[in-house]
Amino acid sequence: MSIDRISRRHVLAAVPAGLFVGAVFGENFHRTSLNLGNDADAFLAYQKMRGSFSSDPMYWWYKSLTYGVVDRQVTLLYALEIASWSRSEMNNDGTMTITASEVGYYLSPEDGRVLDNVTNPYTGKPIRLSHIKGGPRQFLLTPEGMKLVKGMPPGTTFSISFRQPFVVNGIVYLSEETHGAIPSQVKDDNGRDIDWPFRTDEFTTYSAPLAELNDASVATAMSTRFTFQNMMNWPVWMEMGTRPGFTMGRGQGGKIKSFDDLPESIRKPVMERDGSFYKNPESWSKPKEHLSIFGQQK
């Protein structure tokens, strides 16, 4: 959908009735002075940061470090670098459907080389890693946050909400919270499979210049950067069973014009290992045998 087809209604229709008065004063997509205290304008900023009013593809990258935490004692486990592709489509009710796929690699936090085999520092067991291949997944961007549409296992519950943005020195900050649970099984101490939902909590802050968000000709704020932190169950492949503890991650990334603009540390492995994703991410889908969701893999 072209940017010109975004009407005032697209924005207003997405806002609950109780917010209608504020939305009217919030004007429309073409306004050049967003009032981020207004729910409709805040949603517009969220859409320009997270999605796009154009159907042109978007490219993202991010890099993170993941730590194991047991009794608040922290052990650095691995680095992770991700290349992500997405496309946004406006819906008649003002919501935005985002389709996204990603590939990523576990990297040595010391020297950045791709890790294919690691030793679990808690159990001492060797692990053969299967890298991240996710998607395509579909999300719905709404004034209440993101909703998962498809691409996740049955029984998955997700809540993705965003908080009112604020502006400091011309930079807009918008935080997003994700709380989710994916059906999963682990082995208990007797080696029996038991249900053990994979829980994930993620806190992300997006930032972008207010001037870019105010620019009516801008379909997506290319300067958007984000930092995030997450907290998750042990990934299944670590074979931690029901041991206490969890992982914490921290990372940062942003939008890029194309995969050619990926940092070299990930561009090279994507080209070498997932060339079809690099060349044509839209038609790519992860191998059926590959279960890789937030570090879950078998």
């Binding site: 400091v168 930079i171 829980r199 950067r225 969890f246 914490m248 940062q252």
Partner: protein, 278 residues
């Protein structure tokens, strides 16, 4: 109920309060410094503080969550700002800091006075204990002196700085600290705080600039605070904070300045004076 604010003390420690006796802190830098930026120490100083003597303000905004096993529930918001003065010393530089932190209601943004504990359902009263200024002594390579003992408890800190990412004109640098307090009796208490700074490399490389805009993402992992009445419950607190460095008091978000003016009108009138003389 009036309670002290142990987290403030912890943060001061994680930041690196300068108390004797001092021990050198572990140092690590993972990524290479881009040649245009010179040595890590001066680059870090310019990014986090400023390359010359003067003042700056790090405002921060975020939230704190309780965590039991893998269940996470929000407790309160955070509005903070570190009033900061940098002075060059023969060994490196010193930093005087007064960081006033206000806990706020997550929904209304108002100063927190009471709340319902999301885990126990108990009504909690909260009264903040104002912070005091402290000084950190940096060496020219960016390393920092920290105490080995605090109030009779052994104190260990593993502090690491590293260049996380260089991409285009942007650079991300981490400054992480994991601490361990070992009281004369009782179990060790662990905490961690991870800071990620971001700024433009062209700003860092520009020798004419004495103030470089930078942003911060900070996440913390710590124990329950006394006023939360969590007793011996497992788990603890995690925090998520974003912020940025600004050059003047007027650029600090108004929400914090209003809270400060109400709680500490003297500091609001003379923020730099509140650091004491140097």
């Amino acid at each position: 109920m009036t309670r002290s604010q142990p987290n403030l003390n912890r943060r001061a420690l994680v930041l690196g309060a300068a108390l004797a006796p001092l021990i050198p802190v572990a140092w690590a830098s993972a990524g290479a410094v881009p040649p245009a930026l010179g040595e890590f120490g001066p680059m870090f100083r310019k990014m986090r503080y400023r390359p010359n003597d003067g003042v700056l303000f790090w405002w921060m905004k975020g939230a704190k969550y309780g965590q039991i096993h893998n269940e996470v529930k929000p407790f309160h918001g955070i509005e903070a700002c570190a009033i900061t003065r940098v002075t060059t010393t023969p060994a490196g530089w010193s930093v005087d800091v007064l960081e006033h932190i206000f806990y706020t209601d997550l929904e209304s943004g108002r100063l927190l006075e009471s709340m319902t504990n999301p885990f126990t359902g108990k009504t909690l009263d909260y009264k903040r204990t104002p912070a005091r200024p402290f000084t950190m002594q940096y060496h020219s390579d960016g390393s920092l002196d920290l105490p080995s003992e605090i109030g009779g408890a052994k104190f260990e800190s593993d502090r690491k700085k590293a260049i996380l990412t260089v991409h285009g004109d942007e650079i991300w640098v981490s400054d992480d600290a994991a601490t361990k307090m070992l009281p004369a009796s009782g179990a060790a208490v662990y905490s961690a705080e991870w800071s990620t700074f971001r700024c433009r490399m062209t700003d860092l490389a520009d020798k004419s600039l004495t103030f470089v805009p930078a942003s911060l993402h900070l996440q913390g992992l710590g124990g329950w605070q006394g006023w939360m009445q969590m007793g011996d419950q497992p788990g603890g607190l995690i925090s998520r904070i974003v912020g940025s460095k600004v050059a003047t008091f007027d650029e600090v978000p108004e929400t914090w300045r209003v809270l400060l003016a109400k709680a500490h009108p003297d500091v609001a009138r003379d923020p730099i004076g509140s650091l004491g003389s140097r």
